[in-house]
Subunit: 244 residues, 2 copies
């Protein structure tokens, strides 16, 4: 079964340009390598109603949803409240989370720390031996933190439960031709290889050694290779640079 | 009048993790400096129906919408068709665009190049002396290219028409305290300064010299400074590192 996914990136800091979103590029590559089609990314502010509304739409239209951000102890960490709202389920203190928090902070544990133990009823926790904090999952929604290093560590564990041995395959061809000169050829290839996703990415003259990079993605490695070969064969004389 | 904005980033290449989105960070910073609140970013695939649906929703709920990507001559460049669909207006060949295309490509002009002259009826063109291509604008929607260098050059011109001398002001305070220890203080400040947007950004231990960066954004420079000063004064002994 083909699976699709959406990301909900929660963060005023990205919308105000203070912090660069590192998590979308990482998750996009990970999902591609798992053969899961990422269809949509939304960046929204730290507001419960907005997050809940987006989450409700995304969880119904996608097999998998990953949120990033808003899961700490401060006033702007409202993601879990929004998740509960989206699933119309109450929040209650998880004994497992409380134990983990108290073990970690010991006598420095504050009420604000313990706020992180308030989880939507029905959530499950994915734990890994070498990570302090578990990942909260409810139905098809994975709640991830905004800090990139922690998100990555947590995703390695989630990856195992998502991996079904599917994968996308890719071939990229670099050409000296400009887009107008290869548009007709590409159009023909989209008809000939309907299952292959073909992308055309122009570069400014002088910035790189190529003018256009053309990419071929698909689930069948042989078909991907065949599409790339047809493209190379159809290029105007002398316009082929390399293929990876 | 307070203005808000949304970005619609059109690009399979971002969803498959091939290319990093450089345009959101750039536009987020630009809009912040113009005092325009960026409320939403959507990344969607190169599909006419999806783009048209998203655009229709965004243009009705935001003062300004900026699209990025999908405006060249190849099969995956469907943004202008989607814009026409969203505004329920036909596409017709713009004489001004045709003239620009023929002047640029001269005898190398192809039918695919001329596809770029097909614009939604009702669109206006913003031109600048030193940029080859004008920016297409229809009502409150600015259609920008995906190539970051071109988007930036075009935005400098658009900036002039958007600039109303508004601005957001920011102060950032770096602390050695961890989030749990300052959550109550921050919560109190959000009540005391309801117009100031306060953000709290933890770092992993050992990665930077600080544990948490706290940011204060607002339209009133004095109020921003006051909120930051109250925060510094309320920090536990020895936890203040610096302010910028």
């Amino acid at each position: 079964m083909e699976r699709n996914a959406a990301l909900l990136i929660i963060g005023n800091e990205i919308l105000t340009g203070k912090i660069r979103d590192e998590n979308t590029p990482f998750l996009a590559r990970q999902l591609f390598s798992l053969g899961i089609r990422l269809d949509r990314v939304i960046v929204c502010p730290d507001e419960i109603d907005v997050i809940a509304r987006d989450l409700n739409e995304l969880r119904r239209s996608h097999h998998l949803v990953f949120t990033s951000g808003g899961v700490g102890p401060t006033h702007d960490d409202v993601t879990l409240d929004a998740v509960a709202k989206a699933f119309d389920t109450p929040i209650s203190r998880s004994q497992e989370m409380e134990w983990l928090i108290r073990s970690h902070f010991k006598e420095r544990t504050t009420e604000d720390h313990l706020r992180m133990a308030l989880l939507p009823v029905g959530a499950r926790l994915i734990r890994a031996a070498d990570i302090s904090w578990p990942t909260v999952v409810i139905e098809n929604v994975y709640v991830l933190p905004g800090v990139p290093e922690i998100l990555r560590a947590k995703f390695q564990v989630i990856r195992e439960e998502l991996d079904r041995g599917d994968a996308f395959y890719n071939a990229s061809v670099f050409t000296l031709a400009e887009e107008g000169a290869i548009a007709a050829l590409l159009h023909e290839l989209t008809r000939r290889f309907p299952k292959i996703l073909i992308g055309s990415y122009p570069q400014l003259p002088g910035k790189t050694d190529h003018r256009v990079k053309v990419t071929f993605d698909g689930r069948d490695a042989r078909e991907v290779a065949e599409a790339a070969e047809h493209f190379i064969a159809g290029l105007p004389e002398g316009m082929f640079l390399r293929r990876i």
